[in-house]
Symmetry: C2
Subunit: 281 residues, 2 copies
């Protein structure tokens, strides 16, 4: 057992899956869900994501040795402020949000000498939301990025890493600014592009779409509010990534327009090689 | 039975899957593979894609009532010219290539009064190639676009449509120019984007990629030569589609940079709705 009591604030898709994984693998003595809608928490409990739940922040976090903030990015700081006065000494707080620089700036040092914060971004999930789509095997083999700053307590970071390893993830530790840069390229820009690929379609072209389009745009079906907040929470990096993509598209377009067979083949073959190096299946 | 003898020139991923589907559903008396590498044809035969095979075009097509040109787009016209003198009177010729304007211009009328050409583009397949990945259920529920021009024989078009219906496809008939426009938007531009999305990654960002990136770039693992030819064979429409996409990306980028929450949410929600209308699951 890694933690006696884990409190999960926002037991939705990710928080709920984490709770279920911790319970299944007996990594927590008890998993308590904290939220503001009893119906969601009952659902999470019935699905095995949490042992029990409360609508009271103080009651939920007061004797937890780990608190996971599983809310969307825009609520993380608010929830952290709300729990701060009630955390037990030595408690570790982490989150699961997809942008890190703003959150880490806000939460680093928020808990004074009482509790220690380590930011997490488990790179797992789906375009669905809510604990009804939770899946304790969601984390298997995927990557979790942990934030590292001058304020980060190494022992707390090691325990958070151990938890993610326990549910099947690999971990990488990096400064939050680096996280936001790399994740903009690998995740936020692809989401932006998927929305734009859908945006250029009309009724007939949509009818002509096959499995390639379906897969390429799956993430365009993601939760719009969640992704608005992620894109705005990482605006500079996302804008920079879109600029890089527009340059790539402009280069590719020039090769197509001039009929440069050799260079076009090189570019497509290089993309194929690069992707296959990451996904060898 | 729809056809006595179907000859498939190039029994690869699509041609092989079609042969297997025609045999499985007993829509052809006999399916003969034509190619230039015996080893590939033996493989296709062992996988059940064809009944038998020949390396000789004349022998393969001479008594066929349907010839399917299953080669990549760049070889279709060459194969058609090669078979033209040997086709049986009344024979129907179709292809499976992903671009249609150039091919239809070349093949319409190529067979004089003997045989009739109807272009097909079954919107099915995968990033894999070769009959070893063939799958007779590949066409189930997917769309096949048939070309319609002033030269198209309605009876031949009806029989080709009947064949695609027989293997599970819906069909749409349209002029080849329209096909190339819509398919550029729904398929060729997504392939170009997938390559560019891979192109902007570095080693660390690739490591940070999750399932969203994996799905969004699956088609970047497609055959580079095949896709070079498709993009060059539909250059004007692909370039136009890339322009549309760059405009969409530029608009989205502006909303992110100015922090326009409401308009960004609208754009993401609209993409979500539009995609969900096409793929309701």
């Amino acid at each position: 057992m890694l933690f006696h009591k884990v409190a999960i604030v926002g037991a939705g898709l990710i928080g709920g899956s984490l709770g279920a994984a911790l319970r299944q693998r007996k990594l927590a003595g008890r998993v308590v869900g904290i939220g503001y809608r009893a119906v969601s928490l009952i659902q999470a409990q019935q699905r095995g994501c949490i042992d029990d739940f409360t609508l009271e922040m103080q009651e939920g976090v007061c004797d937890a040795d780990l608190v996971v903030i599983g809310t969307p990015v825009s609520l993380v700081a608010e929830k952290a402020r709300e729990m701060a006065p009630h955390l037990a000494p030595g408690c570790i707080v982490t989150d699961v949000a997809s942008t890190k620089k703003q959150i880490v700036e806000q939460l680093d040092g928020m808990f004074g000498e009482t509790a220690r914060f380590v930011g997490s971004h488990p790179m797992a999930g789906s375009e669905k939301r809510g604990s009804e789509h939770s899946d304790p095997s969601m984390f298997d083999g995927a990557l979790c990025i942990l934030t590292r700053t001058g304020h980060t307590d190494p022992a707390a970071a090691a325990r958070v890493a151990e938890m993610w390893h326990g549910v099947g993830m690999r971990t990488l530790s990096m400064p939050p600014e680096q996280h936001d840069h790399y994740v903009a390229l690998a995740s936020h820009v692809p989401h932006a592009v998927a929305a734009c690929l859908v945006g250029i379609q009309d009724a007939t072209s949509l009818q002509c779409a096959g499995s390639g389009f379906k897969d390429a745009t799956r993430i365009a079906a993601s939760d719009p509010e969640l992704w608005r907040d992620i894109m705005l929470g990482n605006a500079a990096e996302v804008a920079g990534g879109i600029d890089m993509l527009i340059r790539e598209l402009t280069d590719l377009r020039a090769l197509i327009e001039t009929g440069d067979e050799a260079a076009l083949l090189d570019k497509l073959a290089e993309a194929n090689r690069k992707r296959s190096s990451r996904y060898p299946d």
